[in-house]
Symmetry: C2
Subunit: 284 residues, 2 copies
């Protein structure tokens, strides 16, 4: 496994591989890797001749400077995990390497910017759009793997890829969960064991929402019921809980005309923001 810090060097290696007809998979990460990332890696290794993992904590997608400062970093452990997972190339650029000059460009993803994460994290998806565009253009992968845990991010990246015709197949990979149901996330490193139990309640609540809907309760009633239940819990502060179309993130009152429907939620546990989602209905 080769570790590369320079864009020029990475491009030069990949150009040679591309001319030999090798297919390239990209797993873009911010480090602090867990089983969720390794699942992305496993998918990429299985489907491509060569897998590049990037580790870059992208400053311009953090709307909260405190969150950026506290974002966990563990480069040596990450490298061990990637080696173990048969990653071929690791790209770890410095912030100066990625942002030679101040970024002037901003993306606006329309409706996708104004709901759920978009509403609570202004500028976040613009930062995601910029860094993903950069990585796509630097690495020019055939396939890129993103976790379904960040479902809205996945929707934004799919939209970016289709609308700008990036020659990349974007693949969403299912959420990995702890045994208690908590969705794996790098930010979980900031939670104690008991806080993780609290955090797992968010998933348990979403399961109940799903059950209520399966038993015929309306979306609105199921959501209200779940919200009330969560409000009665200690230390779990709900930011939003909505049922949406998985590709557009439009809030739905029912699933009649939509093929791909998810429950999405965000909450704070002891100052750490967690997000999660659960498919209600999925395209085959």
């Amino acid at each position: 496994m080769k570790v590369i810090h320079s864009i020029l060097e990475l491009r030069s290696i990949l150009k040679t591989q591309r001319l030999e007809g090798k297919s390239i998979g990209l797993v873009a990460t911010m480090g602090a890797l867990h089983q969720g990332h390794l699942s992305l890696l496993t998918h990429s290794v299985a489907q491509n001749d060569l897998t590049v993992c990037s580790i870059f904590v992208n400053p311009i997608q953090f709307n909260n400077p405190e969150d950026l400062k506290k974002y966990p970093r563990q480069e040596q452990k990450d490298l061990d995990m990637l080696r173990e997972g048969n990653c071929d190339l690791v790209f770890i650029p410095s912030t100066d390497e990625m942002y030679e000059q101040t970024t002037m460009i901003q993306f606006n993803f329309g409706h996708l910017e104004t709901v759920l994460e978009g509403e609570f994290r202004p500028g976040h998806f613009s930062g995601v759009g910029v860094v993903v565009s950069k990585l796509f253009n630097i690495i020019q992968p055939d396939r890129a793997y993103f976790g379904q845990k960040d479902l809205q991010q996945l929707a934004v990246i799919k939209r970016l890829t289709v609308e700008l015709n990036f020659p990349v197949e974007v693949i969403g990979v299912p959420i990995m969960r702890e045994s208690n149901g908590l969705a794996m996330s790098s930010r979980n490193l900031r939670l104690s064991d008991s806080e993780k139990e609290t955090a797992a309640q968010l998933y348990q609540s979403m399961l109940k929402t799903k059950d209520l809907i399966a038993s015929g309760v309306s979306f609105a009633d199921a959501i209200e019921n779940t919200k009330n239940e969560i409000m009665s819990l200690d230390n779990l502060n709900l930011e939003y809980l909505e049922i949406v179309a998985s590709d557009t993130m439009k809030v739905l009152q029912n699933a009649h005309d939509t093929t791909d429907v998810s429950i999405c939620a965000a909450a704070y546990v002891s100052g750490v923001r967690i997000i999660d989602n659960l498919y209600l209905k999925q395209k085959n």
Copy 2:
């Protein structure tokens, strides 16, 4: 010369050529070709193994629907000119081929959006950013050629390319002029001979501005003098006349700290909008 309408077919042809190590040049046009476009083509043919010219009147960069409707179209003549100019591939997609779904993404280029063309054509540069990103991703050229006549567009495209790391060298090609000095433009097809004479006055005025500055007159005084002169002319309605840094389009009071300085202007002649620019100082 091959004419292609489908993205899939173009990609397939170019993939083969790329694997054979061929370099690709792109000349992106909206058709209604003139000597200015042919100059871009000549540069590309000289520097690349293969040149792709695109002809696509991009609806989303027209802030004025009337301007879109009246934009000149002459496909057969364009194809003859391109064949004559040794173009290899012409890409003529339909609007549906380029915009399968409604565009949700918008670009914001910060300061570049708020001055000169940005001020008078809201949304224009977002549309340019989207279509250029699409063409870069569909064609994946090594080099792309754009006319310096659209100097602010060139600045926007350079910024887009650098900030998003498109693996493309963006090359600005000098303005071609009619014998009376009028900058060549597809929109000139909408002008009568006498209107062209009027339009050429814009260039003559910019030359005088340049002379005044060379003789020691301040930017502000030179601009004021030229504006007054243009206002005394019949049928030439000035929209703006500014001296700017050619890369950032920041309006300048002097050229002390800037290596690349231009006079930029826009005006209406009988309802047709013309733009032009002239270098005052240029990087070597």
